[in-house]
Point group: C2
Chain length 321, copies 2
Protein backbone atom coordinates (compact mmCIF):
# COMPACT_ATOMS: atom_id res chain seq x y z
CA UNK A 1 0.00 0.00 0.00
CA UNK A 2 2.98 2.27 0.59
CA UNK A 3 3.63 4.73 -2.19
CA UNK A 4 7.14 5.18 -3.61
CA UNK A 5 7.09 8.93 -3.12
CA UNK A 6 6.24 10.09 0.39
CA UNK A 7 2.68 11.29 0.79
CA UNK A 8 2.55 15.01 1.44
CA UNK A 9 -0.43 15.24 3.75
CA UNK A 10 -2.66 18.23 3.31
CA UNK A 11 -1.42 18.87 -0.23
CA UNK A 12 -4.43 18.91 -2.46
CA UNK A 13 -3.33 17.96 -5.95
CA UNK A 14 -5.31 17.87 -9.20
CA UNK A 15 -5.27 14.10 -8.81
CA UNK A 16 -7.00 14.01 -5.45
CA UNK A 17 -9.09 17.15 -5.45
CA UNK A 18 -12.25 15.61 -6.86
CA UNK A 19 -11.99 12.12 -5.49
CA UNK A 20 -12.88 10.60 -2.17
CA UNK A 21 -10.21 10.04 0.45
CA UNK A 22 -8.19 6.90 0.10
CA UNK A 23 -8.99 4.43 2.86
CA UNK A 24 -6.18 3.46 5.18
CA UNK A 25 -6.99 -0.14 5.91
CA UNK A 26 -5.67 -0.95 9.36
CA UNK A 27 -7.00 -4.44 8.87
CA UNK A 28 -4.80 -4.96 5.81
CA UNK A 29 -1.72 -3.23 7.25
CA UNK A 30 -2.02 -5.08 10.56
CA UNK A 31 -2.34 -8.38 8.68
CA UNK A 32 0.78 -7.55 6.66
CA UNK A 33 2.56 -6.64 9.86
CA UNK A 34 1.57 -9.86 11.57
CA UNK A 35 2.68 -11.89 8.56
CA UNK A 36 6.10 -10.29 8.72
CA UNK A 37 6.30 -10.75 12.47
CA UNK A 38 5.34 -14.43 12.15
CA UNK A 39 8.35 -14.93 9.87
CA UNK A 40 10.64 -13.13 12.34
CA UNK A 41 9.37 -15.25 15.22
CA UNK A 42 9.85 -18.49 13.31
CA UNK A 43 13.41 -17.52 12.38
CA UNK A 44 14.06 -16.64 16.00
CA UNK A 45 12.82 -20.05 17.13
CA UNK A 46 14.70 -21.88 14.37
CA UNK A 47 17.87 -20.13 15.54
CA UNK A 48 17.50 -22.06 18.78
CA UNK A 49 15.70 -19.56 20.96
CA UNK A 50 12.73 -20.22 23.17
CA UNK A 51 9.44 -19.05 21.66
CA UNK A 52 8.50 -15.56 22.93
CA UNK A 53 6.07 -15.73 25.81
CA UNK A 54 3.41 -13.19 26.79
CA UNK A 55 1.45 -13.29 30.04
CA UNK A 56 -1.67 -11.22 30.59
CA UNK A 57 -3.00 -10.64 34.09
CA UNK A 58 -6.73 -10.21 34.19
CA UNK A 59 -8.26 -9.09 37.47
CA UNK A 60 -12.01 -9.51 37.82
CA UNK A 61 -14.73 -10.42 35.36
CA UNK A 62 -15.27 -7.30 33.27
CA UNK A 63 -16.63 -8.59 29.92
CA UNK A 64 -14.86 -5.94 27.83
CA UNK A 65 -11.53 -6.68 29.50
CA UNK A 66 -12.07 -10.39 28.99
CA UNK A 67 -12.68 -9.83 25.31
CA UNK A 68 -9.62 -7.59 24.89
CA UNK A 69 -7.39 -10.15 26.57
CA UNK A 70 -8.90 -12.95 24.53
CA UNK A 71 -8.12 -11.07 21.32
CA UNK A 72 -4.54 -10.53 22.44
CA UNK A 73 -4.14 -14.24 23.09
CA UNK A 74 -5.51 -15.04 19.63
CA UNK A 75 -3.14 -12.57 18.00
CA UNK A 76 -0.21 -14.05 19.90
CA UNK A 77 -1.11 -17.52 18.69
CA UNK A 78 -1.42 -16.20 15.15
CA UNK A 79 2.16 -14.90 15.08
CA UNK A 80 3.68 -17.82 16.98
CA UNK A 81 4.01 -16.19 20.39
CA UNK A 82 3.19 -18.37 23.41
CA UNK A 83 0.69 -16.74 25.68
CA UNK A 84 -1.36 -17.30 28.77
CA UNK A 85 -3.89 -15.41 30.83
CA UNK A 86 -3.60 -15.37 34.59
CA UNK A 87 -7.02 -14.73 36.07
CA UNK A 88 -7.34 -13.21 39.51
CA UNK A 89 -10.63 -12.56 41.31
CA UNK A 90 -11.93 -8.97 41.52
CA UNK A 91 -11.30 -9.24 45.25
CA UNK A 92 -7.56 -9.83 44.82
CA UNK A 93 -5.56 -7.41 46.95
CA UNK A 94 -2.94 -5.11 45.51
CA UNK A 95 -0.35 -7.13 47.43
CA UNK A 96 -1.47 -10.34 45.76
CA UNK A 97 -1.32 -8.76 42.32
CA UNK A 98 2.14 -7.33 42.98
CA UNK A 99 3.33 -10.73 44.22
CA UNK A 100 2.11 -12.34 41.02
CA UNK A 101 3.87 -9.73 38.91
CA UNK A 102 7.06 -10.23 40.90
CA UNK A 103 6.88 -13.95 40.20
CA UNK A 104 6.54 -13.30 36.47
CA UNK A 105 9.36 -10.74 36.54
CA UNK A 106 11.65 -13.44 37.93
CA UNK A 107 10.44 -16.18 35.60
CA UNK A 108 13.06 -16.63 32.85
CA UNK A 109 10.40 -18.15 30.59
CA UNK A 110 8.32 -14.97 30.47
CA UNK A 111 9.18 -12.10 28.09
CA UNK A 112 6.16 -9.85 28.19
CA UNK A 113 3.81 -9.02 31.06
CA UNK A 114 0.68 -6.93 30.77
CA UNK A 115 -1.93 -6.14 33.36
CA UNK A 116 -5.25 -5.51 31.67
CA UNK A 117 -6.56 -2.13 32.78
CA UNK A 118 -8.65 -0.95 34.50
CA UNK A 119 -7.84 -2.78 37.72
CA UNK A 120 -10.47 -2.80 40.50
CA UNK A 121 -10.82 0.46 42.42
CA UNK A 122 -9.10 -0.78 45.58
CA UNK A 123 -5.90 -1.36 43.59
CA UNK A 124 -3.49 1.49 42.77
CA UNK A 125 -3.03 1.33 39.01
CA UNK A 126 0.28 3.21 39.08
CA UNK A 127 1.78 0.79 41.61
CA UNK A 128 0.75 -2.10 39.40
CA UNK A 129 2.26 -0.52 36.26
CA UNK A 130 5.51 0.23 38.08
CA UNK A 131 5.76 -3.31 39.46
CA UNK A 132 6.30 -4.85 36.03
CA UNK A 133 10.00 -5.20 35.15
CA UNK A 134 10.59 -2.40 32.64
CA UNK A 135 12.26 -4.93 30.33
CA UNK A 136 9.04 -6.96 30.21
CA UNK A 137 6.69 -3.97 30.16
CA UNK A 138 5.15 -4.54 26.73
CA UNK A 139 2.39 -2.00 27.41
CA UNK A 140 4.99 0.72 28.00
CA UNK A 141 3.23 1.94 31.16
CA UNK A 142 6.17 1.68 33.61
CA UNK A 143 7.34 5.09 34.73
CA UNK A 144 10.88 4.45 33.46
CA UNK A 145 9.54 3.60 30.02
CA UNK A 146 7.36 6.71 30.09
CA UNK A 147 10.48 8.70 30.92
CA UNK A 148 12.41 7.06 28.10
CA UNK A 149 9.65 7.86 25.66
CA UNK A 150 9.62 11.49 26.76
CA UNK A 151 13.37 11.63 26.20
CA UNK A 152 12.90 9.92 22.80
CA UNK A 153 14.98 6.97 23.92
CA UNK A 154 14.31 3.52 22.53
CA UNK A 155 11.61 1.90 24.67
CA UNK A 156 8.24 0.12 24.61
CA UNK A 157 5.73 2.60 23.24
CA UNK A 158 2.08 2.02 24.24
CA UNK A 159 0.52 -0.13 21.53
CA UNK A 160 -2.23 2.13 20.22
CA UNK A 161 0.08 5.12 19.85
CA UNK A 162 2.70 2.91 18.18
CA UNK A 163 -0.02 1.54 15.90
CA UNK A 164 -0.89 5.02 14.66
CA UNK A 165 2.77 5.79 14.03
CA UNK A 166 3.18 2.52 12.15
CA UNK A 167 0.13 3.31 9.99
CA UNK A 168 1.66 6.66 9.04
CA UNK A 169 4.98 4.99 8.25
CA UNK A 170 3.47 2.22 6.17
CA UNK A 171 1.44 4.77 4.23
CA UNK A 172 4.72 6.66 3.77
CA UNK A 173 3.26 9.91 5.10
CA UNK A 174 5.82 12.69 5.38
CA UNK A 175 5.65 14.29 8.84
CA UNK A 176 8.68 16.59 8.94
CA UNK A 177 7.56 20.18 9.42
CA UNK A 178 3.92 19.17 8.95
CA UNK A 179 1.14 20.29 11.28
CA UNK A 180 -0.41 17.54 13.37
CA UNK A 181 -3.49 18.13 15.48
CA UNK A 182 -3.96 15.52 18.20
CA UNK A 183 -7.30 15.48 20.01
CA UNK A 184 -7.07 13.79 23.39
CA UNK A 185 -4.24 13.95 25.93
CA UNK A 186 -4.50 10.52 27.54
CA UNK A 187 -1.26 9.13 28.93
CA UNK A 188 -1.61 5.96 26.86
CA UNK A 189 -2.67 7.34 23.49
CA UNK A 190 -2.75 11.08 22.84
CA UNK A 191 0.33 12.06 24.80
CA UNK A 192 2.65 9.31 23.48
CA UNK A 193 1.65 10.27 19.94
CA UNK A 194 2.52 13.89 20.69
CA UNK A 195 5.91 12.72 21.98
CA UNK A 196 6.70 10.66 18.93
CA UNK A 197 5.38 13.07 16.33
CA UNK A 198 7.30 16.12 17.49
CA UNK A 199 10.49 14.14 18.11
CA UNK A 200 13.90 15.19 16.91
CA UNK A 201 15.61 12.74 14.55
CA UNK A 202 18.83 13.20 16.49
CA UNK A 203 17.53 11.02 19.31
CA UNK A 204 17.15 7.24 19.51
CA UNK A 205 13.57 7.00 18.33
CA UNK A 206 13.01 7.87 14.67
CA UNK A 207 12.40 11.60 14.67
CA UNK A 208 9.14 12.61 13.04
CA UNK A 209 9.77 16.36 13.33
CA UNK A 210 6.15 17.52 13.13
CA UNK A 211 4.66 20.61 14.75
CA UNK A 212 2.16 19.22 17.24
CA UNK A 213 -1.05 20.81 18.52
CA UNK A 214 -2.40 19.01 21.57
CA UNK A 215 -6.15 19.61 21.98
CA UNK A 216 -8.45 18.22 24.65
CA UNK A 217 -11.78 18.65 26.42
CA UNK A 218 -10.98 22.26 27.36
CA UNK A 219 -10.10 23.32 23.83
CA UNK A 220 -13.07 25.44 22.65
CA UNK A 221 -14.67 24.17 19.39
CA UNK A 222 -13.75 27.31 17.45
CA UNK A 223 -10.12 26.93 18.49
CA UNK A 224 -10.07 23.28 17.48
CA UNK A 225 -11.50 24.36 14.12
CA UNK A 226 -8.77 26.99 13.70
CA UNK A 227 -6.03 24.43 14.31
CA UNK A 228 -7.66 21.54 12.46
CA UNK A 229 -8.17 23.60 9.30
CA UNK A 230 -4.41 24.03 9.11
CA UNK A 231 -3.57 20.41 10.00
CA UNK A 232 -1.88 18.14 7.50
CA UNK A 233 -2.62 15.26 9.84
CA UNK A 234 -5.50 15.00 12.32
CA UNK A 235 -5.51 12.27 14.94
CA UNK A 236 -8.55 11.98 17.16
CA UNK A 237 -8.64 9.87 20.32
CA UNK A 238 -11.43 11.33 22.41
CA UNK A 239 -14.56 9.21 22.36
CA UNK A 240 -16.57 12.21 21.17
CA UNK A 241 -18.76 11.10 18.27
CA UNK A 242 -18.67 13.51 15.32
CA UNK A 243 -15.91 15.70 16.79
CA UNK A 244 -14.08 15.92 13.46
CA UNK A 245 -16.48 17.40 10.91
CA UNK A 246 -15.73 17.95 7.22
CA UNK A 247 -15.78 21.73 7.51
CA UNK A 248 -12.77 21.74 9.85
CA UNK A 249 -10.65 19.39 7.72
CA UNK A 250 -8.07 20.67 5.25
CA UNK A 251 -8.47 19.17 1.77
CA UNK A 252 -5.96 16.38 1.30
CA UNK A 253 -5.30 15.89 5.03
CA UNK A 254 -4.57 12.51 6.57
CA UNK A 255 -7.25 11.74 9.18
CA UNK A 256 -6.61 9.02 11.76
CA UNK A 257 -9.55 8.01 13.93
CA UNK A 258 -8.62 6.31 17.19
CA UNK A 259 -12.09 6.65 18.72
CA UNK A 260 -14.23 3.56 19.20
CA UNK A 261 -17.76 4.54 20.18
CA UNK A 262 -20.87 2.40 20.35
CA UNK A 263 -23.98 4.20 19.11
CA UNK A 264 -27.56 3.18 18.44
CA UNK A 265 -28.81 3.83 14.92
CA UNK A 266 -32.29 5.09 14.00
CA UNK A 267 -33.19 1.49 13.31
CA UNK A 268 -32.26 0.61 16.90
CA UNK A 269 -29.14 -1.28 15.96
CA UNK A 270 -25.79 -0.97 17.73
CA UNK A 271 -22.98 0.35 15.57
CA UNK A 272 -19.30 1.12 16.13
CA UNK A 273 -18.18 4.56 15.02
CA UNK A 274 -15.12 6.71 15.63
CA UNK A 275 -14.68 10.38 16.50
CA UNK A 276 -14.72 11.38 12.84
CA UNK A 277 -17.80 12.14 10.75
CA UNK A 278 -16.60 9.50 8.32
CA UNK A 279 -19.03 10.02 5.45
CA UNK A 280 -18.52 13.77 5.50
CA UNK A 281 -14.77 13.86 6.08
CA UNK A 282 -13.92 11.25 3.44
CA UNK A 283 -15.10 13.76 0.82
CA UNK A 284 -12.46 16.27 1.98
CA UNK A 285 -9.53 14.32 3.37
CA UNK A 286 -6.79 12.74 1.29
CA UNK A 287 -6.53 9.64 3.46
CA UNK A 288 -8.76 8.35 6.23
CA UNK A 289 -8.95 5.38 8.60
CA UNK A 290 -12.32 3.65 8.97
CA UNK A 291 -13.83 2.51 12.28
CA UNK A 292 -13.79 -0.41 12.68
CA UNK A 293 -10.86 -1.68 10.62
CA UNK A 294 -8.52 1.28 11.13
CA UNK A 295 -6.38 1.80 14.20
CA UNK A 296 -8.02 -1.03 16.18
CA UNK A 297 -6.24 -3.95 14.47
CA UNK A 298 -2.92 -2.12 14.73
CA UNK A 299 -3.04 -2.01 18.53
CA UNK A 300 -2.90 -5.76 18.97
CA UNK A 301 -0.26 -6.09 16.24
CA UNK A 302 1.96 -3.58 18.05
CA UNK A 303 1.56 -5.45 21.33
CA UNK A 304 2.97 -8.48 19.53
CA UNK A 305 5.79 -6.33 18.18
CA UNK A 306 6.62 -5.24 21.72
CA UNK A 307 6.55 -8.81 23.00
CA UNK A 308 8.91 -10.04 20.31
CA UNK A 309 11.18 -7.07 20.96
CA UNK A 310 11.22 -7.86 24.69
CA UNK A 311 12.12 -11.50 23.97
CA UNK A 312 15.01 -10.53 21.71
CA UNK A 313 16.34 -7.93 24.14
CA UNK A 314 16.03 -10.23 27.16
CA UNK A 315 17.86 -13.03 25.36
CA UNK A 316 20.83 -10.70 24.96
CA UNK A 317 20.93 -9.85 28.64
CA UNK A 318 21.59 -11.97 31.67
CA UNK A 319 19.04 -10.67 34.08
CA UNK A 320 18.38 -13.78 36.15
CA UNK A 321 21.66 -13.88 38.04
CA UNK B 1 1.93 42.26 41.22
CA UNK B 2 -0.82 39.64 41.02
CA UNK B 3 -4.22 40.96 39.99
CA UNK B 4 -7.32 40.01 41.93
CA UNK B 5 -9.15 38.86 38.83
CA UNK B 6 -7.31 36.36 36.67
CA UNK B 7 -5.67 37.86 33.64
CA UNK B 8 -7.36 36.68 30.46
CA UNK B 9 -4.39 36.49 28.10
CA UNK B 10 -5.06 37.55 24.52
CA UNK B 11 -8.16 39.51 25.49
CA UNK B 12 -7.67 43.00 24.22
CA UNK B 13 -9.73 45.36 26.30
CA UNK B 14 -10.36 49.09 25.92
CA UNK B 15 -8.04 49.51 28.89
CA UNK B 16 -5.03 47.87 27.29
CA UNK B 17 -5.58 48.42 23.59
CA UNK B 18 -3.64 51.66 23.34
CA UNK B 19 -1.04 51.10 25.99
CA UNK B 20 2.24 49.27 25.99
CA UNK B 21 2.48 45.77 27.39
CA UNK B 22 2.88 45.51 31.12
CA UNK B 23 6.34 44.28 32.04
CA UNK B 24 6.54 41.02 33.92
CA UNK B 25 9.51 41.59 36.17
CA UNK B 26 11.16 38.26 36.83
CA UNK B 27 13.66 40.11 38.98
CA UNK B 28 10.92 41.37 41.27
CA UNK B 29 8.93 38.13 41.33
CA UNK B 30 12.05 36.03 41.94
CA UNK B 31 13.06 38.35 44.79
CA UNK B 32 9.59 38.01 46.33
CA UNK B 33 9.84 34.27 45.91
CA UNK B 34 13.24 34.12 47.57
CA UNK B 35 12.04 36.28 50.45
CA UNK B 36 9.20 33.87 51.08
CA UNK B 37 11.47 30.87 50.76
CA UNK B 38 13.94 32.40 53.21
CA UNK B 39 11.17 32.59 55.80
CA UNK B 40 10.20 28.97 55.13
CA UNK B 41 13.78 27.82 55.50
CA UNK B 42 14.26 29.70 58.75
CA UNK B 43 11.07 28.23 60.18
CA UNK B 44 12.27 24.79 59.09
CA UNK B 45 15.58 25.28 60.87
CA UNK B 46 13.93 26.76 63.95
CA UNK B 47 11.72 23.68 64.14
CA UNK B 48 14.89 21.69 64.78
CA UNK B 49 15.76 20.48 61.29
CA UNK B 50 19.14 20.56 59.69
CA UNK B 51 19.58 23.41 57.22
CA UNK B 52 18.87 22.26 53.62
CA UNK B 53 22.05 21.40 51.77
CA UNK B 54 22.72 21.61 48.04
CA UNK B 55 25.78 20.18 46.31
CA UNK B 56 26.75 21.11 42.76
CA UNK B 57 29.19 18.97 40.83
CA UNK B 58 31.22 20.95 38.33
CA UNK B 59 33.33 18.97 35.88
CA UNK B 60 35.99 20.93 34.01
CA UNK B 61 36.72 24.62 33.70
CA UNK B 62 34.05 25.98 31.36
CA UNK B 63 33.70 29.67 32.32
CA UNK B 64 29.94 29.80 31.66
CA UNK B 65 29.36 26.72 33.80
CA UNK B 66 31.53 28.16 36.55
CA UNK B 67 29.47 31.33 36.51
CA UNK B 68 26.14 29.48 36.57
CA UNK B 69 27.24 27.36 39.53
CA UNK B 70 28.58 30.41 41.33
CA UNK B 71 25.20 32.15 40.94
CA UNK B 72 23.42 29.10 42.29
CA UNK B 73 25.67 29.08 45.36
CA UNK B 74 24.99 32.79 45.95
CA UNK B 75 21.24 32.23 45.66
CA UNK B 76 21.44 29.34 48.11
CA UNK B 77 23.26 31.49 50.63
CA UNK B 78 20.68 34.23 50.15
CA UNK B 79 17.78 31.98 51.16
CA UNK B 80 19.65 30.19 53.93
CA UNK B 81 20.44 26.96 52.12
CA UNK B 82 23.88 25.46 52.75
CA UNK B 83 25.72 24.76 49.55
CA UNK B 84 29.02 23.60 48.20
CA UNK B 85 30.60 23.02 44.82
CA UNK B 86 32.55 19.85 44.15
CA UNK B 87 35.04 20.50 41.39
CA UNK B 88 36.30 17.64 39.27
CA UNK B 89 38.88 17.98 36.50
CA UNK B 90 37.74 17.83 32.85
CA UNK B 91 39.64 14.55 32.62
CA UNK B 92 37.52 12.89 35.33
CA UNK B 93 36.15 9.57 34.10
CA UNK B 94 32.45 8.77 34.05
CA UNK B 95 33.14 6.17 36.72
CA UNK B 96 34.72 8.76 38.99
CA UNK B 97 31.78 11.10 38.55
CA UNK B 98 29.28 8.31 39.24
CA UNK B 99 31.23 7.30 42.35
CA UNK B 100 31.09 10.88 43.62
CA UNK B 101 27.34 11.03 42.97
CA UNK B 102 26.86 7.73 44.78
CA UNK B 103 28.71 9.11 47.78
CA UNK B 104 26.42 12.15 47.84
CA UNK B 105 23.33 9.97 47.40
CA UNK B 106 24.30 8.10 50.57
CA UNK B 107 25.27 11.18 52.55
CA UNK B 108 22.43 11.97 54.96
CA UNK B 109 23.59 15.58 55.15
CA UNK B 110 22.93 16.24 51.47
CA UNK B 111 19.42 17.08 50.17
CA UNK B 112 19.97 18.27 46.64
CA UNK B 113 22.51 17.18 44.04
CA UNK B 114 23.02 18.77 40.66
CA UNK B 115 25.57 18.06 38.00
CA UNK B 116 26.21 21.18 35.98
CA UNK B 117 25.68 20.37 32.29
CA UNK B 118 27.22 19.96 29.80
CA UNK B 119 29.61 17.29 31.05
CA UNK B 120 32.76 16.58 28.97
CA UNK B 121 32.17 14.61 25.78
CA UNK B 122 33.66 11.36 27.08
CA UNK B 123 30.98 11.24 29.77
CA UNK B 124 27.46 9.95 29.07
CA UNK B 125 25.15 12.72 30.24
CA UNK B 126 22.15 10.40 30.60
CA UNK B 127 24.08 8.00 32.85
CA UNK B 128 25.09 10.92 35.03
CA UNK B 129 21.52 12.24 35.28
CA UNK B 130 20.19 8.79 36.16
CA UNK B 131 22.86 8.25 38.82
CA UNK B 132 21.47 10.97 41.07
CA UNK B 133 19.00 9.63 43.64
CA UNK B 134 15.60 10.74 42.28
CA UNK B 135 14.76 12.11 45.72
CA UNK B 136 17.77 14.45 45.55
CA UNK B 137 17.41 15.25 41.85
CA UNK B 138 16.70 18.96 42.16
CA UNK B 139 17.26 19.50 38.42
CA UNK B 140 14.50 17.01 37.58
CA UNK B 141 16.64 15.26 34.97
CA UNK B 142 16.45 11.68 36.31
CA UNK B 143 14.43 9.45 34.03
CA UNK B 144 11.99 8.56 36.81
CA UNK B 145 11.31 12.23 37.46
CA UNK B 146 10.85 12.82 33.73
CA UNK B 147 8.34 9.96 33.73
CA UNK B 148 6.54 11.42 36.73
CA UNK B 149 6.33 14.81 35.06
CA UNK B 150 4.89 13.22 31.91
CA UNK B 151 2.27 11.49 34.04
CA UNK B 152 1.60 14.79 35.86
CA UNK B 153 2.69 13.28 39.15
CA UNK B 154 4.28 15.47 41.81
CA UNK B 155 8.02 15.64 41.12
CA UNK B 156 10.99 17.95 40.65
CA UNK B 157 10.28 20.00 37.54
CA UNK B 158 13.34 21.41 35.70
CA UNK B 159 13.95 24.88 37.11
CA UNK B 160 13.53 27.06 34.03
CA UNK B 161 10.24 25.44 33.05
CA UNK B 162 9.02 25.70 36.63
CA UNK B 163 10.11 29.34 36.66
CA UNK B 164 7.92 30.13 33.66
CA UNK B 165 4.97 28.38 35.27
CA UNK B 166 5.53 30.29 38.50
CA UNK B 167 5.65 33.59 36.60
CA UNK B 168 2.30 32.80 35.00
CA UNK B 169 0.83 31.86 38.38
CA UNK B 170 2.14 34.93 40.18
CA UNK B 171 0.77 37.12 37.40
CA UNK B 172 -2.53 35.24 37.85
CA UNK B 173 -2.76 34.39 34.15
CA UNK B 174 -5.70 32.15 33.33
CA UNK B 175 -4.56 29.18 31.22
CA UNK B 176 -7.62 26.92 31.10
CA UNK B 177 -8.73 26.46 27.51
CA UNK B 178 -6.26 29.11 26.35
CA UNK B 179 -3.95 28.64 23.38
CA UNK B 180 -0.28 28.41 24.25
CA UNK B 181 2.41 28.37 21.58
CA UNK B 182 5.73 27.00 22.82
CA UNK B 183 8.75 27.48 20.56
CA UNK B 184 11.50 24.99 21.32
CA UNK B 185 11.18 21.34 22.27
CA UNK B 186 14.22 20.89 24.52
CA UNK B 187 13.89 18.19 27.15
CA UNK B 188 14.74 20.66 29.91
CA UNK B 189 12.65 23.68 28.95
CA UNK B 190 10.18 23.49 26.05
CA UNK B 191 8.92 19.98 26.60
CA UNK B 192 8.40 20.25 30.39
CA UNK B 193 6.42 23.44 29.81
CA UNK B 194 4.25 21.63 27.28
CA UNK B 195 3.65 18.88 29.83
CA UNK B 196 2.63 21.27 32.57
CA UNK B 197 0.56 23.63 30.47
CA UNK B 198 -1.68 21.00 28.88
CA UNK B 199 -2.06 19.07 32.13
CA UNK B 200 -5.37 17.86 33.48
CA UNK B 201 -6.33 19.22 36.89
CA UNK B 202 -7.39 15.74 37.96
CA UNK B 203 -3.77 14.69 38.33
CA UNK B 204 -1.25 15.48 41.09
CA UNK B 205 0.32 18.55 39.52
CA UNK B 206 -1.92 21.61 39.28
CA UNK B 207 -3.72 21.20 35.97
CA UNK B 208 -3.27 24.17 33.66
CA UNK B 209 -5.64 22.84 30.97
CA UNK B 210 -4.28 24.84 28.04
CA UNK B 211 -4.25 23.80 24.38
CA UNK B 212 -0.55 23.54 23.54
CA UNK B 213 1.15 24.03 20.18
CA UNK B 214 4.72 22.74 20.20
CA UNK B 215 6.82 24.44 17.51
CA UNK B 216 10.50 23.91 16.74
CA UNK B 217 13.22 24.34 14.13
CA UNK B 218 11.21 22.41 11.52
CA UNK B 219 8.08 24.50 11.92
CA UNK B 220 7.95 26.73 8.82
CA UNK B 221 7.77 30.50 9.61
CA UNK B 222 4.32 30.89 8.03
CA UNK B 223 2.99 28.05 10.17
CA UNK B 224 4.48 29.56 13.33
CA UNK B 225 2.80 32.82 12.36
CA UNK B 226 -0.56 31.08 11.90
CA UNK B 227 -0.36 29.52 15.37
CA UNK B 228 1.21 32.51 17.14
CA UNK B 229 -1.46 34.91 15.89
CA UNK B 230 -4.05 32.82 17.73
CA UNK B 231 -1.96 32.33 20.87
CA UNK B 232 -3.08 33.79 24.17
CA UNK B 233 0.35 32.94 25.56
CA UNK B 234 3.60 32.66 23.60
CA UNK B 235 6.66 31.13 25.22
CA UNK B 236 9.88 31.15 23.25
CA UNK B 237 12.94 29.10 24.21
CA UNK B 238 14.93 28.74 21.03
CA UNK B 239 17.98 31.00 20.94
CA UNK B 240 16.76 32.50 17.67
CA UNK B 241 17.06 36.30 17.92
CA UNK B 242 13.94 38.11 16.67
CA UNK B 243 11.89 34.93 16.20
CA UNK B 244 8.79 36.49 17.76
CA UNK B 245 7.91 39.60 15.77
CA UNK B 246 5.06 42.00 16.54
CA UNK B 247 3.09 41.04 13.43
CA UNK B 248 2.62 37.46 14.64
CA UNK B 249 1.53 38.39 18.17
CA UNK B 250 -2.14 38.62 19.13
CA UNK B 251 -3.02 41.91 20.83
CA UNK B 252 -3.16 41.41 24.57
CA UNK B 253 -1.16 38.17 24.54
CA UNK B 254 1.22 37.19 27.33
CA UNK B 255 4.72 36.80 25.87
CA UNK B 256 7.36 34.93 27.85
CA UNK B 257 10.92 35.09 26.52
CA UNK B 258 13.19 32.28 27.72
CA UNK B 259 15.91 32.99 25.16
CA UNK B 260 19.23 34.43 26.29
CA UNK B 261 21.31 35.47 23.30
CA UNK B 262 24.47 37.54 23.21
CA UNK B 263 24.56 39.94 20.26
CA UNK B 264 26.89 42.72 19.16
CA UNK B 265 25.27 46.12 18.70
CA UNK B 266 26.09 48.57 15.90
CA UNK B 267 28.28 50.34 18.41
CA UNK B 268 30.28 47.16 18.88
CA UNK B 269 28.98 46.46 22.33
CA UNK B 270 27.84 43.07 23.61
CA UNK B 271 24.19 42.95 24.62
CA UNK B 272 21.89 40.26 26.00
CA UNK B 273 18.62 39.83 24.13
CA UNK B 274 15.92 37.17 24.05
CA UNK B 275 14.04 35.50 21.17
CA UNK B 276 11.41 38.24 21.15
CA UNK B 277 11.62 41.53 19.24
CA UNK B 278 11.04 43.29 22.54
CA UNK B 279 10.55 46.87 21.33
CA UNK B 280 8.11 45.78 18.64
CA UNK B 281 6.18 43.16 20.58
CA UNK B 282 5.69 45.31 23.67
CA UNK B 283 3.44 47.55 21.58
CA UNK B 284 1.11 44.62 20.83
CA UNK B 285 1.30 42.22 23.76
CA UNK B 286 -0.60 42.63 27.01
CA UNK B 287 2.26 41.36 29.17
CA UNK B 288 5.88 40.68 28.35
CA UNK B 289 9.04 39.52 30.12
CA UNK B 290 12.23 41.49 29.49
CA UNK B 291 15.66 39.95 28.82
CA UNK B 292 17.54 40.18 31.10
CA UNK B 293 15.35 40.36 34.19
CA UNK B 294 12.57 38.06 33.05
CA UNK B 295 12.74 34.29 33.21
CA UNK B 296 16.45 34.20 34.12
CA UNK B 297 16.14 35.13 37.81
CA UNK B 298 13.26 32.66 38.19
CA UNK B 299 15.43 29.69 37.24
CA UNK B 300 17.75 29.98 40.21
CA UNK B 301 14.83 30.72 42.54
CA UNK B 302 13.11 27.50 41.41
CA UNK B 303 16.28 25.50 41.98
CA UNK B 304 16.16 26.71 45.57
CA UNK B 305 12.49 25.76 45.73
CA UNK B 306 13.38 22.25 44.59
CA UNK B 307 16.20 21.97 47.12
CA UNK B 308 13.97 23.00 50.01
CA UNK B 309 11.31 20.60 48.78
CA UNK B 310 13.86 17.77 48.66
CA UNK B 311 15.00 18.55 52.20
CA UNK B 312 11.46 18.50 53.57
CA UNK B 313 10.57 15.28 51.74
CA UNK B 314 13.78 13.52 52.75
CA UNK B 315 13.26 14.45 56.40
CA UNK B 316 9.95 12.61 56.30
CA UNK B 317 11.51 9.45 54.92
CA UNK B 318 14.02 7.08 56.36
CA UNK B 319 16.17 6.37 53.37
CA UNK B 320 19.52 5.74 55.04
CA UNK B 321 18.73 2.38 56.62
Amino acid sequence: MAATEPIQPGNQTPENSHTEAQLISGTKIAADYRNELRVDVEQWVKAGHRRPHLVAILVGEDPASQKYVHNKMLAAKDVGIDSETLKLPATASEKEILAKIDELNKNPNVDGILVQLPVPQHVNERNVCNAVDPRKDVDGFHIINVGKMTLNMDTFVPATALGVIELLKRMNVDTKGKNVVICGRSKNVGLPMAMLLHSDHRNELPGMEATVVLCHRHTPPEELAYFAKRADIIISATGVVGLIKPEIVKPGAVVIDVGINRITTKEGKTKLVGDVDFEGVRKVAGFITPVPGGVGPMTVAMLMHNTYKAAVQLAKQEIYS
